[in-house]
Amino acid sequence: MSELLHVSNVTAGYGDGPAILDGAELTVEPGKVHCIIGPNGAGKSTLLKAICGMLKVRKGDVLYRGESLKGLRPDQVLRKGICFVPQERALFPKMTVRENMRMGGFSLPDTSNLEKRIDEIEERFPILKERRDQHAGTMSGGQQQTLAMARTMILKPDIVMLDEPSLGLAPKIVQEMFDIMRMMAAEGITILLVEQNALMGLKNSDWGVVLDLGKTLFSGPAKDVLQDPRIQDLYLGGSKAA
């Protein structure tokens, strides 16, 4: 079987609170782009947090290349090759842009190439080059999002999990963002993303997953998901989406 990551019947929640995820299923195949959609508060972000170790998995299991990720700390999960960009931007507000980029390479065992790699990435995102010495916290919302994205590219991980990467980006940049994502996929990096900009997300994905009520309600090729009238109605903004 060609699955890279398998989430089976996972239950998870915050603290002693109720189970937010209650039987979530997910299969991630290598080299593909997966898009999770669902209403606000469905548990999408919670699912990603559970995978990367920020939340405890109460029941069920998360298998990565057949190995369980349960009980690992986020930094350990990262070292296995799963990189997560959370929805609330995970930047260091009082470090400069450049330092933020360097932090992106923190987990690399060999940092000799780091500076060169950062230079390469900066070429692709001119704003980052321009604002190199600005504190990340003072950048505009979209700039921060760009930085967070760019930073993951330093690592060349196996799986990148993105929580709403298009959030707050200007349309032009959104397009670029998805282009980059496709490019990463082409390089063999597997992508798992959560999108509220569902049309755009699904259009640029291979596989679509619908998460609602903490459960996986639907999962199939992105095209099918896009065309399902029920899904259009419930999650894509109704008839207009057609």
């Binding site: 920020m54 990262l78 995970a90 930047l91 260091f92 923190f106």
Partner: protein
């Protein structure tokens, strides 16, 4: 003229010691956002290490300094594991941590008092009561050594924080714990180590203090407010700020003490604190807060 020069020298001499006393506090605040009210009592613990080294084996407090650092760092590690680790995880209760450090201060004070009684102690290496006289003006050797050593230690620390990989991890963790974790930083380790360094610095300060001031367990209450005012004036968490503030305030206090009156020299620290809050709440080197 000689008077002015002399006062300046005395102010600077005290400033060096205060700088080291404040820097550990500043570091722990910078990294963990903990206002460690137990820091002064840790300095006293460090002073006891130096004291017993001196008293039992006649070891110079300057030689005891590394020993004090190590012993206190170990205490720091234990303390972190036992008390602060769970706090560090839940940022929600961060203001509680201030009070927790207060409790720790009481525990340590009680323990020190129980072990060593409240008798005041001081180590007396020869240089502690000596001075270099240049004409009419003198430089107290004890404080001179202490000041130079403090600056060396602080400079080392600053370089470490700025350039080492670990320094990066420390700063990253301070600013966004979750993000640091996601980028592969073992955050609890970072917090542990930086806390240990902070307390270790208290140990270093303690061994210097042991011959500059006399001390007993309950003495730390007198230091808390003074050290705090240094840290605030410098800008919370800014090492450089703490150092500058230490020298600045000590010098001002010395002039106030000479020309206005001893009573008011201690007041300098607190008044300065108030003035600074009035005109520049973030301190000398702090970040300007939102919403002025």
């Amino acid at each position: 003229m000689a008077d002015i020069l002399q006062t300046l020298i005395l102010g600077l001499a005290l400033g060096g010691v205060f700088a080291l006393m404040g820097s550990g506090l500043s570091l722990v605040f910078g990294v963990m956002r903990i206002v460690n009210l137990a820091h002064p009592v840790m300095i006293i613990a460090g002073a006891y290490v130096a004291y017993w080294g001196f008293k039992l084996y006649g070891i110079d407090p300057l030689v005891m300094l590394p020993v004090a650092i190590v012993i206190l760092a170990v205490i720091g590690i234990l303390l972190y594991k036992l008390v602060f680790e769970r706090e560090a995880r839940s940022a929600k209760y961060s203001e509680m941590t201030v009070l927790l450090t207060f409790a720790v201060a009481m525990i340590v004070e009680g323990a020190l008092g129980g072990l060593f009684t409240n008798t005041q102690r001081v180590t007396s290496p020869a240089y502690a009561t000596d001075a270099i006289f240049i004409g009419d003006v003198f430089i107290p050797t004890g404080q001179l050594y202490a000041g130079i050593l403090s600056l060396v230690i602080i400079a080392g620390l600053a370089l470490f924080l700025k350039y080492s990989r670990f320094g990066y991890a420390i700063r990253a963790t301070t600013q966004n714990r979750e993000a640091a974790e996601l980028l592969g930083v073992n955050v609890s380790m970072v917090a542990l180590v930086s806390f240990a360094i902070g307390i270790g610095l208290a140990g270093a300060a303690g061994s210097l203090v042991s011959f500059v001031f006399s001390f007993f367990p309950a003495k730390h209450w007198e230091w808390i407010a003074v050290l705090m005012s240094l840290v605030v004036l410098g800008g919370m968490g800014s090492l450089l700020g703490t150092v500058v503030a230490s020298f600045l305030l000590s010098v001002i206090a010395a002039f106030v003490g000479t020309y206005i009156g001893a009573t008011w020299s201690t007041m300098t620290f607190f008044l300065a604190l108030f003035l600074i809050l009035l005109v520049r709440p973030q301190g000398l080197f702090g970040e300007k807060p939102e919403l002025a």
